[in-house]
C-alpha cells in the first residue's frame, strides 16, 4: 500500500533522506524510529507530496504521489503530531469540514457523531469548541477524520507525543482496530514501548538512512531498546 523506492531528498547540500526503500502492506503497522532529524518527518512529507523527492519515488496503492497527488491523498489519512483544528468551531463542525473535503460527500450528523465516538471522544464533547479540547481529544478528532475518509493508509507523526498513558493506550487500541480492518499504517515515533506494543514492523532511521528493519515479533522490549540505542550511539 505504501511503498518507497530509493526515495531521496536533499535540501541544498543537506541529504535529509538517502535512498529509502520500504513497504507498508495492508494491515501492517510500520513504526519508524529515530532521533530528531533522522528523516522520519521527511519520509512522511514525501508520501503526502508536501515536498517533492530529489530522486526515487513514493507510491500509494501503486500510484506515484507526485504524478497523482489527489488520487493518493484520497487513499491516505494523515494525523500530524499536533492535531490543531479550527478552534472557533466544534469538534463536529471540524470533522464535517474535513470529512467532506476528504470524500466529496455530505455526512449526516448521526454518522459524524458515530465516527467521533468510535474514535473515543465522549459524545457530550462533540458540540464543544475545539478551544476547550485537550490534546488527546483533538487527536481523536484526527482519527475520526481518518475513519470518515475510509482511508486505505494511515500516516501518523509522533501520535502519542504529549499523551498520558491512558490516552496513549486508547490510541494504540484504535490503531490495532484499524490495522485489523486492513489499513496500512506508517507511524513515526520516539515511543519504543508503543512501537513494540502496536507495531508489526519497525524501521530504525539515522541521518536519513534506514539502518535496520525487522518484524516486531522478532524482538522483545529490552532488545528493541538495546538495538535502538546501539544505532543512536554509533
Amino acid at each position: 500500500m505504501l511503498v518507497a523506492k530509493d526515495l531521496t531528498k536533499k535540501y541544498g547540500e543537506h541529504l535529509a533522506l538517502d535512498r529509502l526503500n520500504l513497504a507498508v502492506l495492508p494491515g501492517d503497522v510500520y513504526c519508524l524510529l529515530g532521533a530528531n532529524g533522522a528523516g522520519k518527518t521527511t519520509t512522511i512529507n514525501l508520501f503526502l507530496n508536501f515536498v517533492e523527492p530529489t530522486a526515487g519515488a513514493a507510491f500509494v496503492d501503486g500510484s506515484n504521489v507526485v504524478e497523482h497527488p489527489l488520487e493518493c491523498k484520497r487513499r491516505i489519512a494523515y494525523v500530524p503530531e499536533t492535531v490543531l483544528l479550527y478552534k472557533n468551531l466544534t469538534g463536529l463542525e471540524n470533522l464535517k469540514f474535513f470529512a467532506e473535503i476528504a470524500t466529496g460527500t455530505t455526512f449526516t450528523r448521526a454518522s459524524l457523531v458515530d465516527y467521533l465516538v468510535r474514535s473515543g471522544l465522549p459524545e457530550d464533547a462533540v458540540d464543544r469548541r475545539i478551544s476547550g479540547y485537550s490534546k488527546g481529544m483533538r487527536q481523536k478528532v484526527g482519527i475520526a477524520i481518518a475513519l470518515a475518509k475510509s482511508a486505505k493508509a494511515l500516516i501518523l507523526d509522533e501520535p502519542t507525543s504529549g499523551l498520558d498513558p491512558k490516552a496513549s493506550n486508547e490510541f494504540s487500541r484504535l490503531l490495532l482496530d484499524l490495522s485489523e480492518s486492513g489499513v496500512a499504517i506508517l507511524m513515526a515515533t520516539h515511543d519504543l514501548f508503543r512501537a513494540k506494543e502496536t507495531g508489526t514492523r519497525i524501521g530504525i532511521m539515522k541521518s536519513g538512512v534506514l539502518v535496520q528493519s525487522f518484524a516486531t515479533s522478532d524482538v522483545g522490549h529490552t532488545e528493541l531498546e538495546s538495538i535502538y540505542l546501539d544505532h543512536m550511539s554509533d
Binding site: Y11, N45, L48, F50, V51, L70, E71, K73, R74, I76, A77, Y78, P80, T82, V83, L84, L85, Y86, K87, N88, L89, E93, F97, F98, E100, I101, A102, T103, G104, G142, I145
Partner: protein, 484 residues
C-alpha cells in the same frame, strides 16, 4: 469529486470561520458605516447643487420678468438712474447683469455615489457680456489623496477604504492556516492548493462585493427619482462592473502576497505598502511630475495681467473704441445717448483687455491640456487612479464632464456675445422679441455621452493590472510549498 464543489465547500467553511472570527463581520460593518456616511454626504451635496441651481433659475426667471415688464411699460414709466440704471431697452444693460443667464451643470443620476471633485469645481457660471474666465483650481489633477481631505462619499469609500478592508480580511489566507497548524491536515486532503485559495477568496469576495453593491442599489431604489429609467440601471451596471473589477484586483494582490510572503505579518506589511503606493504615493508623484513638467501661469499672474490691461485700455480710451469699430465696421451705425456711448466704450475696453489677456489664458489652457494628457497616460500606473476616473465618469462628477461643461459654457458665452455685441455696438434698442430670442444654456449631455470610449481605457487598464497579478500568482503557486 467536483472541483467547483470543493471550492464551494471551502468558501462555506471560510464564511463560517470568518463569522466566528468576527473579522469579516467587523470589516463589513465598517464598510457599511463608511458607505452609508458617504451616501448621506453625497445626497446632501447633490441636493445642495440641485437647490442652488433651482435658486439661480428662480432668480433668472424673476429678472427676466422684470425686463419683460420694463419692456411692456410705457416709455415715461421706465426707471433710468445714473446711479443704478435698469433700462431694459439697453442691450448692454440686459446683456450685462440684469439679463445675465446661468450656465448650470445638473448632477447626474448617480452623482450621489461619487462627489469626486465636483465640490471643488464650479457647477454654475453667470454668463453675461462681461469677460468669461475659467481660471479655476484645476492645476492639480485628480488625486485620490484629495478624496481624503474632501467630502466623504461612496467614491472615497470604494477607492481608498474598500481595498484596505479587503486586505485586512485577506492578508493571512494560507498563512493563518499554517500559523494555526491546520494547513498540514488540510493539504493532506484531496484538494488542490489553488482550489483552496480560490474558495477562501470567493467567500470574502462575495461578501464584500454584495455589501458594496447592496448599498449602491439601495441608493438607486430609494433615492433616485428616475429609477424606472433604463439608463439609470445601465449606469449602475457599469458602476457595479468597475466595483467588482477593482475589488478583484485587490483580492488578487492579497493572494499574491500570501504566496510570496512567509508569514501573515510580512504579508500585512507588503500589502500595506501596496495600498500606500497605489492609492497615495503614485498619484502624488504623478501630480508632482505634472506640475513640474507643465507649469501653469498662476492666478495672481492672470489677475495682474488683467489689471495692467485694464489700465492700458483706459489710457488708450477712444483709441480702443476706434480700433473696435475698425475690427467690426458693420456695427458702426446707429446713434444713441451718453449711456449707449458709455456702454460701447466699455465693450471696446473689455475687448481690448481680453485681447491682451488671451495669450496668458491660452498658455494656461495649453498647460492644463498637457497635464491632463500626461495624467491620462500615467494613470495606468495606479489602479486607484483608473478606478477613480471610471467611477467619477459614471457618476458624472469627473473632470472630463466638467471640462465639457466649460467648453459648452465658453461656446455659449460666445453665442451670448454674438447676440448682444452687435446690438450694443449699433446702439439698438432692446425689444420684447429680443427677450424671447435670447440664448438659453442647456448642457448637452449627448455631446458628452458616457461612451464606451470614456470607460474603455480604465477597464482595459484594470484588466491588464489584474492579469499581471494573476501571472504572478500562477508562478508563485507553482513554487509554493506546504512545508519548508
Amino acid at each position: 469529486m467536483s472541483r467547483s464543489r470543493q471550492i464551494l465547500r471551502v468558501a462555506r467553511h471560510e464564511l463560517r470561520l470568518s463569522i466566528a472570527d468576527r473579522r469579516l463581520v467587523a470589516g463589513v460593518c465598517l464598510l457599511m458605516l463608511v458607505t452609508g456616511a458617504g451616501i448621506v454626504s453625497g445626497t446632501r451635496w447633490v441636493n445642495h447643487q440641485r437647490a442652488t441651481i433651482s435658486e439661480l433659475e428662480k432668480d433668472e426667471r424673476s429678472r427676466k420678468e422684470t425686463i419683460r415688464q420694463e419692456l411692456n411699460a410705457t416709455p415715461g414709466q421706465t426707471q433710468v438712474s445714473k446711479a443704478m440704471p435698469i433700462d431694459a431697452r439697453s442691450p448692454a444693460i440686459v446683456g450685462g447683469k440684469l439679463g445675465s443667464t446661468y450656465a448650470t451643470l445638473q448632477p447626474k443620476r448617480l452623482a450621489v455615489l461619487a462627489i469626486g471633485q465636483s465640490d471643488l469645481l464650479p457647477f454654475h457660471f453667470r454668463v453675461s457680456t462681461e469677460s468669461f474666465r475659467t481660471l479655476i483650481d484645476q492645476d492639480e489633477i485628480a488625486n485620490p489623496a484629495h478624496l481624503l481631505s474632501g467630502r466623504l462619499d461612496l467614491g472615497f469609500a470604494v477607492i481608498a477604504l474598500y481595498p484596505l478592508i479587503i486586505l485586512a480580511i485577506s492578508f493571512d489566507m494560507p498563512a493563518a492556516e499554517k500559523e494555526a497548524g491546520t494547513f498540514g491536515l488540510l493539504m493532506s486532503q484531496p484538494i488542490r492548493f489553488s482550489d483552496l485559495i480560490l474558495g477562501k477568496v470567493l467567500s470574502r469576495f462575495m461578501v464584500m462585493t454584495c455589501c458594496a453593491l447592496a448599498i449602491s442599489t439601495t441608493v438607486i431604489v430609494f433615492g433616485a427619482s428616475d429609477r424606472g429609467d433604463a439608463s439609470v440601471w445601465k449606469d449602475w451596471s457599469l458602476w457595479a462592473s468597475f466595483l467588482i473589477l477593482y475589488g478583484a484586483f485587490w483580492f488578487a494582490l492579497a493572494v499574491a502576497a500570501n504566496l510570496i510572503g512567509k508569514s501573515s505579518a510580512s504579508n500585512a506589511l507588503m500589502l500595506s505598502g501596496c495600498w500606500l503606493t497605489f492609492v497615495l504615493i503614485v498619484p502624488a508623484i504623478l501630480n508632482l511630475i505634472a506640475v513640474s513638467a507643465f507649469p501653469m501661469p498662476s492666478r495672481i499672474t492672470l489677475i495682474q495681467a488683467a489689471r495692467q490691461a485694464t489700465i492700458d485700455a483706459s489710457e488708450e480710451g477712444s483709441r480702443s473704441l476706434s480700433a473696435f469699430y475698425e475690427d467690426h465696421p458693420e456695427l458702426a451705425e446707429g446713434s444713441g445717448g451718453d449711456v449707449d456711448e458709455f456702454m460701447v466704450r466699455s465693450l471696446a475696453t473689455r475687448s481690448a483687455i481680453d485681447e491682451k489677456v488671451r495669450p496668458l489664458i491660452e498658455r494656461f489652457d495649453e498647460s492644463l491640456e498637457q497635464r491632463q494628457r500626461f495624467i491620462s497616460r500615467a494613470r495606468y500606473l495606479s489602479p486607484a487612479l483608473l478606478a477613480q476616473d471610471a467611477i467619477e465618469s459614471i457618476a458624472g462628477t469627473g473632470t472630463s464632464r466638467h471640462r465639457e461643461f466649460l467648453a459648452q459654457t465658453k461656446d455659449f458665452h460666445q453665442k451670448w456675445q454674438n447676440f448682444f455685441v452687435p446690438r450694443i455696438a449699433r446702439k439698438a434698442k432692446f425689444e420684447t422679441r429680443d427677450l424671447e430670442a435670447m440664448p438659453q444654456f442647456q448642457f448637452e449631455e449627448d455631446r458628452f455621452a458616457l461612451t464606451f470610449r470614456h470607460l474603455l481605457g480604465p477597464a482595459i487598464g484594470l484588466i491588464v493590472q489584474f492579469g499581471i497579478v494573476l501571472i504572478l500568482i500562477g508562478r508563485s503557486i507553482r513554487d509554493f510549498r506546504v512545508v519548508g
